[in-house]
Amino acid sequence: MTELPNVDAERRANWLALYERMLLIRRAEERVAKVAQAGGMPGGVHLYIGQEASGVGVCSVLEDSDFITSTHRGHGHFLAKGGDLKAMFAELWGKRTGICKGMGGSMHVADVSKGILGANGIVGGGIAIAAGAALGIKTGKEDKVSVCLFGDGAANQGVLMESLNMSAVWKLPVIWVLENNGLSEFTITDKVTAGEQTDRARAVGMPAVTVDGNDVLAVQKAMQEAIERARAGEGPSFIETKTYRIRGHLEAEDAFLGGYSYRKQEEIDVWKAPDKDPILRFASKLLSEGGASQADLDEIDERVIKLVDEAEQFAEESEDADPDLIHEITFDGQRP
């Protein structure tokens, strides 16, 4: 057995946990892609592949009682915040065992018990909800934070300016995490966006930083600082995590593109390379300075794939969603 560098055990455990969570998201979504492409999924799916370090870094410093709002690309956030993989798969498969009983699907995975206020099919839909959750926390004098995960596409929704303003003026315990993957659906964001994203936060006097969104430790560190500020009552922070979306806006996007493309394959390949891909990068770091062996990493991969296999089987075997439920759950104690 090779001699491993002597590292702090707590740090090693933290790093391995981050790695495992990123890999779980990756392997889960690879499976989702496969099933979706084979036509085994009722609706469309938007994958987070390539952006895992951002969501995992952010959620690694949150408690279950803290809130997040997510996006249409929300599987990664859901799993990073501790959502159950089986319940998520069953949801995507449209089954009654799904986390939302099959009523929300891929774009709406939510687990309120874990503080996951929902993925959201409206681009920017989570922004005001996150601000409102922070207002709720503040008025309830609770020691929680609210985290808004949103993309550079959502950053062009007017509601962002409104919510940034209110969060700053009332010092709300909210952290704005702009996951900048450079793409607004099928449009290069730079072509439709003026100025620096972080300047939008600075305009309301909010501290704003840009970090390498494919470096899970950099994201984690920025979040720790923002959370300290929020919990100390010093108000909101803004973190831009620079990352890249390796898959299409949605799976099977070629069907919409009609032979055209909005980016070059070479660009995608750059971000898939070992020095860019968040998981491959972190694997290297774990091996060189994290006190992990290749065998450790392989073991994690095996464990994760087993979880994915089990989740797929659970989803496949579960009973279809219950159509009668719609009328029971639209309102509390009242038929629509």
Partner: protein, 329 residues
């Protein structure tokens, strides 16, 4: 019982309920100054930790109501004018109305949105709308339309204590009507219509602001020998279909009076449901008195030309009771 104006009844409910339940927060534009009068003293009484005088940004405010409710608070959002339902619509339609269903029933959203609606005050096209149709059509929000100070108290209390997003539509032009209001705790259940005046020849189903002119017309008709029943749904979602149908089956004639624009109005929905439920008892076509499908004009004379006035209600009733007047003559 004590006499109160409509707006005072609402104001008293805010003060009482926020005192009773410390989990209630209230926010909206200019709520501190209380330009409508309904939030008077609320800011002063409960302070800046529970009452937020917000910037003017309805689209965030409706979404924030959802977030604050999801975080465990009980929310009152003052949206000022009915038209601002449109400016805040994104989060109303996409989040407030849908999150409970889309999360498989995981979250309750105890949100009361309050706004004043309707025309007749020369406020022109952007401050005179009655957005019942759009709210009724979303599927997932309650719509309550109290006409009297007592119902304002009872329905607002029910809305605030309930767990569902509810639009409380204020018939509060110039402070609203004055009337007897029960003292102490008073709740009016949703989905229960009120008969303001009994009659046997024709049912006038009047919504919110239209109840008063309907009662005036009913009295005038009484003098002419036509017995009109005036029924007020009080809540449009949920709608007391059986209660209204019972009245229509008794009289055999129906006029629905509604300040919405006619196309897909609350009136047309009620007319459709009643045609379905009461077809065998109907003696005449169902009539609607509504606002035509145009914007509300500014000039008083132009506004009144399209407003559902007592004259128009009277004419509608007469158009289906002509033979009664003749036989009574």
């Amino acid at each position: 019982m004590a006499k109160q104006r409509y707006i005072q009844a609402i104001n008293q409910v805010f003060l009482d309920e926020m005192e009773r339940d410390k989990n209630i927060i209230l926010f909206g534009e200019d709520v501190e100054l209380a330009i409508f009068g309904d939030t008077r003293e609320v800011y002063k009484t409960f302070g800046p930790e529970r009452v937020y005088n917000t910037p003017i940004c309805e689209n965030s405010l409706t979404g924030m109501a959802v977030g604050a409710a999801a975080a465990g608070r009980r929310v009152i959002l003052h949206l000022m004018f009915g038209n601002f339902v449109y400016t805040g619509m994104d989060a109303i339609a996409h989040q407030m109305a849908k999150l409970r269903m889309m999360t498989g029933g995981q979250m309750n959203l105890p949100i009361t949105v309050i706004c004043g609606y309707g025309g007749g005050r020369s406020l022109a096209g952007q401050h005179s709308d009655t957005p019942f149709p759009v709210l009724m059509n979303i599927g997932g929000v309650n719509v309550v339309t109290p006409a009297t100070p007592a119902d304002a108290k009872g329905l607002l209390t029910t809305a605030i204590r309930g767990n569902n997003p509810t639009f409380f539509m204020e018939a509060s032009g110039r402070g609203g009507d004055s009337g007897e209001v029960p003292e102490g705790e008073y709740l009016v259940p949703f989905g229960k219509a009120a008969v303001h005046k009994e009659g046997k020849d024709v049912t006038i189903c009047a919504i919110g602001t239209m109840v008063r002119p309907a009662l005036r017309v009913a009295k005038q008709l009484e003098d002419e020998g036509i017995s009109a029943e005036v029924i007020d749904p009080r809540t449009l979602v949920p709608l007391d279909e059986d209660g209204i149908a019972a009245s229509v089956r008794k009289t055999g004639r129906l006029v629905v009076v509604d300040e919405s624009k006619d196309r897909c109005s609350a009136a047309s929905h009620i007319a459709a449901v009643m045609a379905d439920k009461c077809f065998d008892k109907l003696k005449a076509p169902i009539k609607r008195v509504t606002v035509p499908n145009v914007s509300m004009p500014y000039a008083g004379v132009a506004e009144m030309a399209i407003f559902p006035t007592p004259e128009k209600i009277y004419a509608a009733v007469k158009s289906i009771t002509g033979e009664l007047a003749e036989s009574n003559a």
